[in-house]
Protein backbone atom coordinates (compact mmCIF):
# COMPACT_ATOMS: atom_id res chain seq x y z
CA UNK A 1 0.00 0.00 0.00
CA UNK A 2 1.26 3.43 -0.94
CA UNK A 3 0.88 5.54 2.17
CA UNK A 4 2.03 9.08 1.48
CA UNK A 5 1.97 10.14 5.12
CA UNK A 6 4.15 7.20 6.06
CA UNK A 7 6.56 8.10 3.28
CA UNK A 8 6.71 11.76 4.28
CA UNK A 9 7.50 10.82 7.87
CA UNK A 10 10.68 9.17 6.62
CA UNK A 11 12.05 12.50 5.33
CA UNK A 12 12.98 14.67 8.33
CA UNK A 13 13.68 17.80 6.27
CA UNK A 14 10.09 17.99 5.03
CA UNK A 15 8.66 18.96 8.40
CA UNK A 16 10.48 22.27 8.60
CA UNK A 17 9.21 25.75 7.96
CA UNK A 18 10.79 28.07 5.44
CA UNK A 19 10.17 31.80 5.70
CA UNK A 20 7.57 30.96 8.34
CA UNK A 21 5.64 28.65 6.01
CA UNK A 22 5.62 24.84 5.81
CA UNK A 23 8.21 23.79 3.25
CA UNK A 24 6.85 22.75 -0.13
CA UNK A 25 9.82 21.21 -1.85
CA UNK A 26 9.32 21.07 -5.61
CA UNK A 27 12.92 21.23 -6.76
CA UNK A 28 13.45 17.49 -6.92
CA UNK A 29 14.89 17.63 -10.42
CA UNK A 30 17.85 19.45 -8.89
CA UNK A 31 18.19 17.11 -5.95
CA UNK A 32 15.95 14.92 -3.81
CA UNK A 33 15.67 14.93 -0.04
CA UNK A 34 16.95 11.98 1.96
CA UNK A 35 14.96 9.39 3.90
CA UNK A 36 15.92 8.65 7.50
CA UNK A 37 17.46 5.29 6.58
CA UNK A 38 19.93 7.00 4.22
CA UNK A 39 20.87 9.61 6.81
CA UNK A 40 21.26 6.83 9.40
CA UNK A 41 23.47 4.67 7.22
CA UNK A 42 25.85 7.59 6.61
CA UNK A 43 26.01 8.16 10.32
CA UNK A 44 26.57 4.44 10.92
CA UNK A 45 29.33 4.30 8.31
CA UNK A 46 31.30 6.98 10.13
CA UNK A 47 30.40 5.77 13.62
CA UNK A 48 31.09 2.09 13.08
CA UNK A 49 32.69 1.05 9.82
CA UNK A 50 34.80 3.85 8.44
CA UNK A 51 38.02 2.71 6.85
CA UNK A 52 39.51 3.05 3.40
CA UNK A 53 38.40 0.34 1.01
CA UNK A 54 40.42 -2.21 -0.94
CA UNK A 55 43.55 -1.58 1.12
CA UNK A 56 43.78 -2.59 4.73
CA UNK A 57 44.12 -6.12 5.99
CA UNK A 58 42.27 -5.11 9.10
CA UNK A 59 38.70 -5.71 10.17
CA UNK A 60 37.31 -2.24 9.43
CA UNK A 61 38.79 -2.06 5.97
CA UNK A 62 37.38 -5.46 5.13
CA UNK A 63 33.97 -4.40 6.44
CA UNK A 64 34.01 -1.13 4.54
CA UNK A 65 35.12 -2.85 1.34
CA UNK A 66 32.38 -5.42 1.73
CA UNK A 67 29.74 -2.73 2.12
CA UNK A 68 31.09 -0.86 -0.90
CA UNK A 69 31.06 -3.96 -3.08
CA UNK A 70 27.61 -4.91 -1.79
CA UNK A 71 26.48 -1.45 -2.87
CA UNK A 72 27.77 -2.19 -6.35
CA UNK A 73 25.75 -5.37 -6.38
CA UNK A 74 22.64 -3.51 -5.20
CA UNK A 75 23.06 -1.07 -8.08
CA UNK A 76 23.61 -3.93 -10.52
CA UNK A 77 20.37 -5.56 -9.46
CA UNK A 78 18.50 -2.26 -9.52
CA UNK A 79 19.24 -1.60 -13.18
CA UNK A 80 19.54 -5.29 -14.09
CA UNK A 81 23.11 -5.17 -15.37
CA UNK A 82 24.77 -8.47 -16.20
CA UNK A 83 27.73 -8.27 -13.80
CA UNK A 84 28.95 -5.96 -11.03
CA UNK A 85 32.01 -5.10 -13.15
CA UNK A 86 29.66 -3.15 -15.36
CA UNK A 87 28.89 -0.73 -12.53
CA UNK A 88 31.48 2.05 -12.25
CA UNK A 89 31.10 4.38 -9.31
CA UNK A 90 31.63 8.01 -10.23
CA UNK A 91 31.05 11.39 -8.61
CA UNK A 92 27.75 11.78 -10.41
CA UNK A 93 26.17 11.87 -13.85
CA UNK A 94 28.48 14.61 -15.11
CA UNK A 95 31.53 12.66 -14.02
CA UNK A 96 30.11 9.49 -15.56
CA UNK A 97 29.55 11.15 -18.94
CA UNK A 98 32.99 12.75 -18.84
CA UNK A 99 34.50 9.35 -18.11
CA UNK A 100 32.68 7.80 -21.05
CA UNK A 101 33.53 10.71 -23.34
CA UNK A 102 37.19 10.51 -22.47
CA UNK A 103 37.78 6.78 -22.38
CA UNK A 104 35.45 5.77 -25.18
CA UNK A 105 36.60 8.76 -27.21
CA UNK A 106 40.27 7.97 -26.69
CA UNK A 107 39.81 4.54 -28.17
CA UNK A 108 37.07 4.90 -30.74
CA UNK A 109 36.76 8.48 -31.99
CA UNK A 110 38.84 9.66 -34.91
CA UNK A 111 38.92 12.66 -37.19
CA UNK A 112 35.63 13.26 -39.06
CA UNK A 113 33.73 10.74 -36.94
CA UNK A 114 30.32 11.88 -35.78
CA UNK A 115 28.65 11.98 -32.39
CA UNK A 116 24.93 12.69 -32.13
CA UNK A 117 23.26 14.39 -29.16
CA UNK A 118 19.73 15.67 -28.62
CA UNK A 119 18.90 19.37 -28.75
CA UNK A 120 17.23 19.24 -25.34
CA UNK A 121 20.21 17.88 -23.42
CA UNK A 122 21.53 19.14 -20.12
CA UNK A 123 24.90 20.88 -20.60
CA UNK A 124 26.50 17.80 -19.01
CA UNK A 125 25.54 15.77 -22.03
CA UNK A 126 26.71 18.41 -24.50
CA UNK A 127 29.97 19.90 -23.29
CA UNK A 128 31.94 16.64 -22.71
CA UNK A 129 31.11 15.62 -26.31
CA UNK A 130 32.05 19.05 -27.63
CA UNK A 131 35.38 18.76 -25.84
CA UNK A 132 35.91 15.30 -27.26
CA UNK A 133 35.04 16.46 -30.79
CA UNK A 134 37.48 19.32 -30.46
CA UNK A 135 40.22 17.01 -29.24
CA UNK A 136 39.68 14.46 -32.00
CA UNK A 137 38.50 16.79 -34.79
CA UNK A 138 35.23 14.89 -34.84
CA UNK A 139 31.79 16.38 -35.50
CA UNK A 140 28.88 16.90 -33.15
CA UNK A 141 25.44 16.50 -34.72
CA UNK A 142 22.25 17.61 -33.00
CA UNK A 143 18.84 15.95 -33.18
CA UNK A 144 16.40 18.83 -33.67
CA UNK A 145 13.26 19.21 -31.60
CA UNK A 146 9.73 20.31 -32.43
CA UNK A 147 7.96 23.32 -30.91
CA UNK A 148 6.98 21.25 -27.87
CA UNK A 149 10.53 20.17 -27.19
CA UNK A 150 10.14 16.61 -28.47
CA UNK A 151 13.08 15.24 -30.43
CA UNK A 152 12.33 14.74 -34.12
CA UNK A 153 12.81 11.06 -34.68
CA UNK A 154 12.67 11.25 -38.47
CA UNK A 155 15.45 13.87 -38.43
CA UNK A 156 17.47 11.66 -36.15
CA UNK A 157 17.25 8.85 -38.68
CA UNK A 158 18.71 11.16 -41.30
CA UNK A 159 21.63 12.11 -39.05
CA UNK A 160 22.51 8.54 -38.28
CA UNK A 161 25.06 7.11 -40.68
CA UNK A 162 28.30 5.27 -41.23
CA UNK A 163 30.31 8.04 -39.55
CA UNK A 164 28.19 7.98 -36.42
CA UNK A 165 30.22 6.49 -33.58
CA UNK A 166 28.04 7.39 -30.65
CA UNK A 167 24.53 8.59 -29.91
CA UNK A 168 24.13 10.32 -26.53
CA UNK A 169 20.80 11.53 -25.23
CA UNK A 170 18.80 12.01 -22.08
CA UNK A 171 16.26 9.43 -21.03
CA UNK A 172 14.24 12.34 -19.65
CA UNK A 173 14.97 15.96 -20.59
CA UNK A 174 15.72 17.86 -17.39
CA UNK A 175 14.23 21.20 -18.38
CA UNK A 176 10.86 19.86 -19.57
CA UNK A 177 10.40 16.38 -18.11
CA UNK A 178 9.80 14.94 -21.58
CA UNK A 179 10.63 11.24 -21.88
CA UNK A 180 12.59 10.75 -25.07
CA UNK A 181 11.70 7.83 -27.37
CA UNK A 182 14.54 5.75 -25.97
CA UNK A 183 13.50 2.40 -27.39
CA UNK A 184 13.01 3.78 -30.89
CA UNK A 185 16.34 5.64 -30.86
CA UNK A 186 18.16 2.54 -29.65
CA UNK A 187 16.47 0.27 -32.19
CA UNK A 188 17.40 2.63 -35.00
CA UNK A 189 20.97 3.08 -33.76
CA UNK A 190 21.43 -0.69 -33.55
CA UNK A 191 21.11 -0.82 -37.33
CA UNK A 192 24.51 0.90 -37.37
CA UNK A 193 27.82 0.37 -35.59
CA UNK A 194 27.27 3.37 -33.29
CA UNK A 195 27.23 3.00 -29.52
CA UNK A 196 24.59 4.46 -27.23
CA UNK A 197 24.90 6.48 -24.04
CA UNK A 198 21.83 7.42 -22.05
CA UNK A 199 21.87 10.22 -19.50
CA UNK A 200 19.51 8.81 -16.92
CA UNK A 201 19.86 11.60 -14.35
CA UNK A 202 16.15 12.50 -14.58
CA UNK A 203 14.81 8.99 -15.19
CA UNK A 204 16.36 6.64 -12.64
CA UNK A 205 14.24 8.00 -9.75
CA UNK A 206 10.97 7.91 -11.69
CA UNK A 207 10.94 4.79 -13.84
CA UNK A 208 12.01 1.17 -13.81
CA UNK A 209 15.34 1.01 -15.62
CA UNK A 210 16.50 -2.25 -17.13
CA UNK A 211 19.73 -1.78 -19.06
CA UNK A 212 19.52 -5.27 -20.52
CA UNK A 213 16.07 -4.75 -21.99
CA UNK A 214 17.05 -1.27 -23.15
CA UNK A 215 20.21 -2.64 -24.72
CA UNK A 216 22.17 0.60 -24.29
CA UNK A 217 25.98 0.61 -24.11
CA UNK A 218 26.19 3.19 -21.33
CA UNK A 219 23.72 4.48 -18.78
CA UNK A 220 24.69 7.31 -16.43
CA UNK A 221 22.94 8.58 -13.30
CA UNK A 222 23.45 10.38 -9.99
CA UNK A 223 22.80 9.13 -6.51
CA UNK A 224 21.58 12.41 -5.07
CA UNK A 225 18.65 12.53 -7.46
CA UNK A 226 17.42 9.19 -6.19
CA UNK A 227 17.42 9.92 -2.45
CA UNK A 228 21.11 9.15 -1.80
CA UNK A 229 23.98 11.36 -0.70
CA UNK A 230 25.71 13.75 -3.05
CA UNK A 231 29.06 12.88 -4.59
CA UNK A 232 28.13 9.48 -5.94
CA UNK A 233 26.97 8.43 -9.38
CA UNK A 234 27.10 5.48 -11.68
CA UNK A 235 28.30 4.77 -15.15
CA UNK A 236 26.89 1.51 -16.37
CA UNK A 237 28.77 0.17 -19.37
CA UNK A 238 28.68 -3.12 -21.23
CA UNK A 239 31.55 -5.22 -19.99
CA UNK A 240 33.01 -6.04 -23.41
CA UNK A 241 33.08 -2.36 -24.25
CA UNK A 242 34.47 -1.15 -20.92
CA UNK A 243 37.24 -3.73 -21.13
CA UNK A 244 38.53 -2.24 -24.36
CA UNK A 245 38.52 1.35 -23.10
CA UNK A 246 41.61 2.95 -21.55
CA UNK A 247 41.39 4.34 -18.00
CA UNK A 248 40.05 7.85 -17.40
CA UNK A 249 42.25 8.93 -14.51
CA UNK A 250 45.42 7.46 -13.11
CA UNK A 251 46.14 6.89 -9.45
CA UNK A 252 45.71 4.46 -6.63
CA UNK A 253 43.21 1.60 -6.75
CA UNK A 254 43.12 1.50 -10.56
CA UNK A 255 46.38 -0.41 -11.00
CA UNK A 256 47.66 -3.95 -10.73
CA UNK A 257 51.30 -2.97 -10.50
CA UNK A 258 53.30 0.20 -10.94
CA UNK A 259 56.89 0.67 -11.95
CA UNK A 260 58.63 3.45 -13.83
CA UNK A 261 59.05 1.08 -16.76
CA UNK A 262 55.54 -0.29 -16.97
CA UNK A 263 52.27 0.11 -15.12
CA UNK A 264 49.53 -2.46 -15.37
CA UNK A 265 45.97 -1.39 -14.88
CA UNK A 266 43.48 -3.12 -12.66
CA UNK A 267 40.57 -5.10 -14.06
CA UNK A 268 37.04 -3.76 -14.19
CA UNK A 269 35.53 -1.95 -12.44
CA UNK A 270 38.53 -0.63 -10.49
CA UNK A 271 40.32 0.41 -13.68
CA UNK A 272 37.91 3.34 -13.80
CA UNK A 273 37.87 4.15 -10.09
CA UNK A 274 41.19 5.90 -9.44
CA UNK A 275 41.79 7.22 -5.96
CA UNK A 276 39.69 6.70 -2.87
CA UNK A 277 36.11 6.25 -3.98
CA UNK A 278 33.30 7.92 -2.13
CA UNK A 279 32.49 4.63 -0.47
CA UNK A 280 30.26 6.18 2.18
CA UNK A 281 28.09 7.75 -0.50
CA UNK A 282 28.09 4.47 -2.44
CA UNK A 283 26.69 2.72 0.62
CA UNK A 284 24.13 5.52 0.99
CA UNK A 285 23.13 4.94 -2.64
CA UNK A 286 22.52 1.28 -1.94
CA UNK A 287 20.40 2.24 1.05
CA UNK A 288 18.46 4.75 -1.07
CA UNK A 289 17.81 2.01 -3.62
CA UNK A 290 16.58 -0.20 -0.77
CA UNK A 291 14.15 2.59 0.08
CA UNK A 292 12.98 2.78 -3.55
CA UNK A 293 12.67 -1.00 -3.76
CA UNK A 294 10.64 -1.25 -0.59
CA UNK A 295 8.38 1.60 -1.70
CA UNK A 296 8.17 0.07 -5.17
CA UNK A 297 9.33 1.97 -8.25
CA UNK A 298 5.98 1.20 -9.91
CA UNK A 299 4.15 2.82 -6.98
CA UNK A 300 6.46 5.82 -7.19
CA UNK A 301 5.89 6.12 -10.92
CA UNK A 302 2.13 5.90 -10.50
CA UNK A 303 2.03 8.48 -7.71
CA UNK A 304 4.29 10.90 -9.56
CA UNK A 305 2.37 10.60 -12.81
CA UNK A 306 -0.84 11.42 -10.91
CA UNK A 307 0.89 14.44 -9.39
CA UNK A 308 2.09 15.53 -12.82
CA UNK A 309 -1.34 15.21 -14.41
CA UNK A 310 -2.92 17.13 -11.53
CA UNK A 311 -0.25 19.86 -11.66
CA UNK A 312 -0.48 20.30 -15.42
CA UNK A 313 -4.24 20.55 -15.29
CA UNK A 314 -4.27 22.92 -12.35
CA UNK A 315 -1.51 25.20 -13.65
CA UNK A 316 -2.96 25.28 -17.16
CA UNK A 317 -6.04 26.97 -15.72
CA UNK A 318 -3.94 29.99 -14.74
CA UNK A 319 -4.45 32.87 -17.10
CA UNK A 320 -1.33 33.55 -19.17
CA UNK A 321 0.56 30.49 -17.95
CA UNK A 322 2.38 28.59 -20.65
CA UNK A 323 3.88 25.15 -20.15
CA UNK A 324 7.08 24.41 -22.07
CA UNK A 325 7.43 20.80 -23.06
CA UNK A 326 3.91 19.61 -23.66
CA UNK A 327 3.88 15.92 -24.32
CA UNK A 328 2.00 12.79 -23.42
CA UNK A 329 5.34 11.22 -22.53
CA UNK A 330 6.46 13.12 -19.49
CA UNK A 331 7.57 12.52 -15.98
CA UNK A 332 7.60 14.55 -12.81
CA UNK A 333 8.32 18.08 -14.03
CA UNK A 334 6.37 21.11 -15.19
CA UNK A 335 8.32 23.95 -16.76
CA UNK A 336 6.42 27.17 -17.30
CA UNK A 337 6.35 30.93 -17.67
CA UNK A 338 3.60 33.43 -17.03
CA UNK A 339 2.83 36.19 -19.45
CA UNK A 340 4.23 39.60 -18.49
CA UNK A 341 6.16 38.22 -15.54
CA UNK A 342 9.71 36.98 -15.15
CA UNK A 343 10.53 33.50 -13.85
CA UNK A 344 13.01 34.92 -11.36
CA UNK A 345 10.34 37.12 -9.76
CA UNK A 346 7.91 34.21 -9.58
CA UNK A 347 10.58 32.01 -7.97
CA UNK A 348 11.50 34.68 -5.44
CA UNK A 349 7.92 35.19 -4.35
CA UNK A 350 7.22 31.44 -4.18
CA UNK A 351 10.29 31.10 -1.98
CA UNK A 352 8.83 33.60 0.46
CA UNK A 353 5.73 31.42 0.55
CA UNK A 354 7.84 28.39 1.49
CA UNK A 355 7.71 26.82 -1.96
CA UNK A 356 11.01 25.77 -3.51
CA UNK A 357 11.14 25.66 -7.31
CA UNK A 358 13.95 25.98 -9.79
CA UNK A 359 14.18 29.01 -12.04
CA UNK A 360 16.51 29.87 -14.90
CA UNK A 361 17.95 27.97 -17.82
CA UNK A 362 18.18 24.61 -16.01
CA UNK A 363 21.66 24.09 -17.51
CA UNK A 364 19.94 23.64 -20.85
CA UNK A 365 20.60 26.87 -22.71
CA UNK A 366 20.08 25.35 -26.19
CA UNK A 367 16.62 24.20 -25.09
CA UNK A 368 15.74 27.67 -23.81
CA UNK A 369 17.01 29.20 -27.03
CA UNK A 370 14.89 26.71 -28.95
CA UNK A 371 11.81 27.94 -27.10
CA UNK A 372 12.92 31.54 -27.62
CA UNK A 373 13.09 32.27 -23.89
CA UNK A 374 15.78 32.93 -21.30
CA UNK A 375 14.44 30.53 -18.69
CA UNK A 376 11.43 29.04 -16.97
CA UNK A 377 10.06 28.15 -13.57
CA UNK A 378 10.32 24.41 -13.06
CA UNK A 379 8.36 22.47 -10.45
CA UNK A 380 9.57 18.90 -10.20
CA UNK A 381 8.12 16.12 -8.09
CA UNK A 382 9.31 13.22 -5.99
CA UNK A 383 7.72 10.33 -4.14
CA UNK A 384 6.90 12.46 -1.07
CA UNK A 385 5.05 15.29 -2.81
CA UNK A 386 1.32 15.68 -2.31
CA UNK A 387 -1.66 17.08 -4.17
CA UNK A 388 -2.00 19.60 -1.39
CA UNK A 389 1.49 20.88 -2.19
CA UNK A 390 0.49 21.40 -5.80
CA UNK A 391 -2.49 23.41 -4.56
CA UNK A 392 -0.02 25.53 -2.57
CA UNK A 393 2.09 26.01 -5.68
CA UNK A 394 -1.01 27.07 -7.58
CA UNK A 395 -2.03 29.55 -4.88
CA UNK A 396 1.53 30.88 -4.73
CA UNK A 397 1.60 31.49 -8.46
CA UNK A 398 -1.75 33.30 -8.32
CA UNK A 399 -0.43 35.49 -5.51
CA UNK A 400 2.84 36.20 -7.36
CA UNK A 401 0.94 37.00 -10.53
CA UNK A 402 -1.18 39.51 -8.63
CA UNK A 403 1.85 41.16 -7.08
CA UNK A 404 3.69 41.38 -10.36
CA UNK A 405 0.92 42.63 -12.59
Amino acid sequence: MFDIEKIRRQFPILTQKVNGKPLVYLDNGATTQKPRQVIDIVNKMYSEYNSNIHRGVHYLSAKSTELYENARETVRKFINAETPEEIIFTKGTTDAINLAAFSFGEKYIKENDEIIVGLTEHHSNIVPWQMLCKRKKAKLKVIPADENGELKFEEFKKLLGKKTKLVAFAHVANSTGIINPVEKIIEETRKTEAKILIDGAQAIQHKKIDVKTLDCDFYAFSGHKIYAETGIGVLYGKKELLETMPPYQGGGDMIKSVSFEKTEYADLPLKFEAGTSNYVAAVSLAEALNFVNSTGIENIEKHESELLAYAEEKLSSINGLKIFGKSRNKTSAVSFNIKNTHFYDIGMILDKLGTAVRTGTHCAEPTMKHFGITGTVRASFAVYNTFDEIDKLYEGIIKAQKMLS
Binding site: H342, Y344, D345, M348, I349, K352, T361, G375, M403, L404
Partner: protein, 141 residues
Protein backbone atom coordinates in the same frame (compact mmCIF):
# COMPACT_ATOMS: atom_id res chain seq x y z
CA UNK B 1 23.65 63.76 0.29
CA UNK B 2 26.54 61.39 0.73
CA UNK B 3 26.16 57.80 -0.37
CA UNK B 4 26.10 56.83 3.28
CA UNK B 5 23.22 59.19 4.00
CA UNK B 6 21.23 57.90 1.04
CA UNK B 7 21.77 54.33 2.20
CA UNK B 8 20.60 55.19 5.69
CA UNK B 9 17.52 56.80 4.20
CA UNK B 10 16.72 53.62 2.26
CA UNK B 11 17.18 51.52 5.40
CA UNK B 12 14.81 53.89 7.20
CA UNK B 13 12.23 53.54 4.42
CA UNK B 14 12.38 49.77 4.51
CA UNK B 15 12.23 49.60 8.30
CA UNK B 16 8.48 50.22 8.23
CA UNK B 17 7.87 46.88 6.53
CA UNK B 18 7.82 43.92 8.84
CA UNK B 19 6.21 41.70 6.25
CA UNK B 20 8.22 40.43 3.27
CA UNK B 21 5.20 40.94 1.03
CA UNK B 22 5.04 44.65 1.71
CA UNK B 23 8.77 44.83 1.19
CA UNK B 24 8.58 43.05 -2.15
CA UNK B 25 5.61 45.11 -3.21
CA UNK B 26 7.58 48.25 -2.45
CA UNK B 27 10.56 46.89 -4.35
CA UNK B 28 8.34 46.15 -7.34
CA UNK B 29 6.95 49.68 -7.10
CA UNK B 30 10.45 51.19 -7.09
CA UNK B 31 11.39 48.92 -9.97
CA UNK B 32 8.47 50.28 -11.96
CA UNK B 33 9.53 53.86 -11.33
CA UNK B 34 13.08 53.29 -12.54
CA UNK B 35 14.01 55.85 -15.17
CA UNK B 36 13.32 54.20 -18.55
CA UNK B 37 16.36 52.69 -20.14
CA UNK B 38 17.04 53.55 -23.75
CA UNK B 39 16.27 50.39 -25.73
CA UNK B 40 19.04 51.35 -28.16
CA UNK B 41 21.52 50.89 -25.35
CA UNK B 42 20.52 47.27 -24.79
CA UNK B 43 23.71 46.28 -26.56
CA UNK B 44 25.69 43.12 -25.91
CA UNK B 45 28.46 45.17 -24.33
CA UNK B 46 26.00 46.67 -21.83
CA UNK B 47 24.45 43.32 -21.03
CA UNK B 48 25.30 41.43 -17.89
CA UNK B 49 24.14 37.92 -18.58
CA UNK B 50 22.91 35.98 -15.58
CA UNK B 51 21.28 32.59 -15.46
CA UNK B 52 18.37 34.04 -13.50
CA UNK B 53 17.89 37.57 -14.77
CA UNK B 54 19.60 39.87 -17.22
CA UNK B 55 20.84 43.35 -16.41
CA UNK B 56 21.81 46.17 -18.75
CA UNK B 57 23.99 48.98 -17.45
CA UNK B 58 25.15 52.18 -19.11
CA UNK B 59 27.06 55.14 -17.68
CA UNK B 60 27.77 58.72 -18.65
CA UNK B 61 30.35 61.13 -17.23
CA UNK B 62 29.20 64.75 -16.87
CA UNK B 63 30.82 67.61 -14.92
CA UNK B 64 32.86 65.28 -12.75
CA UNK B 65 29.97 63.00 -11.92
CA UNK B 66 28.82 59.64 -13.24
CA UNK B 67 25.21 59.04 -14.19
CA UNK B 68 24.04 55.46 -14.46
CA UNK B 69 21.05 54.04 -16.30
CA UNK B 70 20.12 50.40 -16.05
CA UNK B 71 17.40 47.88 -16.66
CA UNK B 72 16.53 44.27 -16.00
CA UNK B 73 13.99 41.81 -17.33
CA UNK B 74 13.05 40.77 -13.77
CA UNK B 75 11.16 43.34 -11.72
CA UNK B 76 12.60 42.45 -8.31
CA UNK B 77 16.09 42.75 -9.77
CA UNK B 78 14.97 46.06 -11.28
CA UNK B 79 13.86 47.28 -7.87
CA UNK B 80 17.29 46.60 -6.44
CA UNK B 81 18.88 48.28 -9.46
CA UNK B 82 16.79 51.37 -8.77
CA UNK B 83 18.13 51.44 -5.22
CA UNK B 84 21.72 51.01 -6.39
CA UNK B 85 21.28 53.86 -8.86
CA UNK B 86 19.75 56.03 -6.16
CA UNK B 87 22.87 55.51 -4.07
CA UNK B 88 25.60 55.69 -6.70
CA UNK B 89 24.32 57.73 -9.65
CA UNK B 90 25.30 61.41 -9.78
CA UNK B 91 28.33 60.85 -7.61
CA UNK B 92 32.00 61.44 -8.34
CA UNK B 93 34.21 58.49 -9.28
CA UNK B 94 35.99 58.76 -5.94
CA UNK B 95 32.74 58.65 -3.98
CA UNK B 96 31.56 55.65 -5.97
CA UNK B 97 34.83 53.81 -5.46
CA UNK B 98 34.92 54.30 -1.72
CA UNK B 99 31.26 53.51 -1.08
CA UNK B 100 30.58 50.38 0.91
CA UNK B 101 27.11 49.17 -0.07
CA UNK B 102 25.84 48.13 3.34
CA UNK B 103 22.15 48.86 2.83
CA UNK B 104 21.32 45.69 0.86
CA UNK B 105 22.20 43.48 3.79
CA UNK B 106 20.42 45.82 6.21
CA UNK B 107 17.13 45.74 4.31
CA UNK B 108 17.22 41.96 4.15
CA UNK B 109 17.97 41.48 0.46
CA UNK B 110 21.42 39.99 0.87
CA UNK B 111 20.36 36.73 -0.81
CA UNK B 112 19.99 38.71 -4.02
CA UNK B 113 23.68 39.46 -3.98
CA UNK B 114 24.89 35.92 -3.52
CA UNK B 115 27.52 35.08 -6.13
CA UNK B 116 25.69 31.86 -6.90
CA UNK B 117 22.43 33.65 -7.62
CA UNK B 118 23.57 34.72 -11.09
CA UNK B 119 20.98 37.45 -11.40
CA UNK B 120 23.49 39.98 -12.71
CA UNK B 121 23.47 42.23 -9.63
CA UNK B 122 26.92 41.41 -8.32
CA UNK B 123 28.43 42.01 -11.72
CA UNK B 124 26.40 45.20 -11.99
CA UNK B 125 27.99 46.58 -8.84
CA UNK B 126 31.42 45.52 -10.06
CA UNK B 127 30.75 47.22 -13.39
CA UNK B 128 29.57 50.43 -11.70
CA UNK B 129 32.86 50.55 -9.83
CA UNK B 130 34.75 49.69 -13.00
CA UNK B 131 33.09 52.64 -14.76
CA UNK B 132 34.24 54.88 -11.89
CA UNK B 133 37.81 53.64 -12.24
CA UNK B 134 37.74 54.07 -16.01
CA UNK B 135 36.22 57.57 -15.99
CA UNK B 136 38.61 58.64 -13.28
CA UNK B 137 41.56 57.49 -15.35
CA UNK B 138 40.19 59.10 -18.49
CA UNK B 139 39.09 62.52 -17.19
CA UNK B 140 40.75 63.15 -13.87
CA UNK B 141 44.39 62.33 -14.38
Amino acid sequence: MTTEEIQNEIIEEFSVFDDWMDKYEYLIEIGNTLQPYNEKNKTPSNLIQGCQSRVWLDAEYKDGKIYFTADSDAIITKGIIALLIKVLSGKTPDEILKTDLFFIDKIGLKENLSPTRANGLISMIKNMKAYATAFKAKYEQ
